[in-house]
């Protein structure tokens, strides 16, 4: 973002004052700082991770976007690139990592598997898309996306950050913390904790069908 864009407050500045005052909003400053230092979390799940590493290496060089610091700890990361197949066994760990990330935090579903399950979408051991559990900000199709496609996604994310407002983002709202995602439980199958009430009511309905009750 150049200086002209930074100084677009939405107010009319008189011509004689144009070179002496700079009115800007806090949002712009915040977003500018945030989008220029999106630090991804350093973890990979499958073959997409190889492309992510290639994008990080010197041929494509994410440092040009301020994303060069892949943090191995979620406490210092802003962006979670879910790069690869999300197995049911891995989901609890991924959700826990997401919960440990400080706000603002973004999730990118990289590749077909993370976006929708891809070729494994009906598999017994694969989650059909990480968006079933985490709020995904950006989807990058491809199998795997090339480094340039991934960078296109990251640029789109920067554009999204540019449009955000501190007063409207979900993590600065008052009230219940809407960001914490309950960690799913891995038993014989994966259990999404948020669906337990639904499942219980369904079980009650099935074990006690209304027709039998009448009889």
């Amino acid at each position: 973002m150049d200086n002209n864009e930074l100084n677009l407050p939405g107010y009319e500045i008189p011509d004689d004052m144009k070179n002496t005052v700079a009115i800007t909003s806090l949002d712009r400053l915040y977003n500018w700082g945030r989008r220029s230092s999106v630090w991804p979390l350093m973890f990979g799940l499958a073959c997409c991770a190889i492309e992510m590493i290639a994008a990080q290496a010197s041929r494509y060089d994410l440092a040009r976007f301020g994303m060069e610091v892949m943090r191995p700890t979620p406490r210092q990361a802003d962006l979670m690139i879910v790069s690869g197949t999300v197995t049911k066994k891995m989901v609890p760990a991924i959700v826990r990592l997401y919960n440990q990330m400080p706000e603002p935090k973004y999730v990118m579903a990289m590749g077909a598997c993370a976006s929708s399950g891809g070729p494994f979408k009906e598999g017994y051991n694969v989650v059909a898309g990480i968006d079933k559990f985490l709020p995904v900000d950006i989807y990058v199709p491809g199998c795997p996306p090339t480094p340039q496609a991934l960078m296109n996604g990251l640029i789109m994310l920067q554009k999204k950050i540019d449009k955000e407002s501190i007063s409207k983002v979900r993590w600065y709202r008052k009230g219940a913390d809407t960001v914490e995602v309950p960690v799913p439980i891995l038993g014989p199958d994966l259990i999404d904790v948020r669906r337990i009430p639904d499942i219980k009511s369904k079980v009650a309905e099935l074990s006690n069908p209304p027709a039998q009750r009448e009889a």
Binding site: A112, P119, Y139, P141, C143, Q148, M151, N152, I155
Partner: protein
């Protein structure tokens, strides 16, 4: 030993650092004499991807893009022929072979019906590809008997929501296909013409 390895390593880094600026200077001279640029140009990318490159070789993506090879494949698209007065004659006959061979089952087609007779016609009414499921395998293009579905080169498809591509977005002209895959398109055109010629000769022989 005694830190010599460290110095050697730093030396390598320094040589690369120096080479970057040295290359820039030599290319500045080339720019004056031949008009070739090191950055943001096809010959610059070709040089930086070659084994003769020295110094920095980063592809500065949004400004310049690494050219993709002809057989590079991403999400498929539907080829249409441009008929007279700009009519889009889609090659697809909605036979459904592509959706049957698709390993992740990301294609779905609604067959078109003729509004006057109410009977099915060989043309899709709707055609969807879920770009977020597609695994870019190219089976659809491989199996299509009408050369109607082909793999695209466009990889800039990132979006804020799940991407379901409808027919309007999938349709691209045959000239676009010939542009991104010139060798393949020429070969297929030749085969199609030969087939048509054989058919015409056969019909002639039957008539005689």
């Amino acid at each position: 030993m005694y830190g010599k390895g460290l110095l050697k390593g730093l030396g390598v880094t320094f040589v690369r650092f120096f080479n970057t600026y040295w290359e820039d200077l030599t290319w500045m001279w080339r720019r004056v004499t031949t008009g070739e640029k090191r950055y943001h140009s096809a010959e610059g990318i070709a040089h930086r991807s070659s084994k003769n490159t020295r110094g920095i070789f980063t592809v500065q993506y949004p400004e310049e893009k690494l050219p993709v090879p002809e057989e590079f494949r991403y999400i498929p698209f539907l080829v249409y022929d441009e008929g007279a007065d700009g009519a889009k004659e889609i090659r697809c006959t909605s036979c459904g072979i592509c959706s049957k061979v698709c390993p992740p089952q990301c294609i779905w087609i609604v067959r078109g019906t003729d509004p006057s007779t109410g009977r099915p016609k060989p043309q899709p009414a709707e055609f969807y590809i879920d770009a977020d499921i597609c695994m870019n395998c190219g089976f659809c293009a491989e199996y299509c008997p009408f050369d109607a579905i082909k793999m695209d080169h466009d990889y800039e498809l990132a979006s804020y929501t799940r991407t379901l591509l409808p027919m309007e977005k999938l349709m691209k002209p045959a000239s676009y296909y010939a542009e991104i895959r010139p060798l393949n398109a020429a070969r297929e055109d030749e085969a199609r013409k030969a087939k048509e010629a054989a058919k015409a000769a056969k019909a002639e022989a039957a008539a005689a």
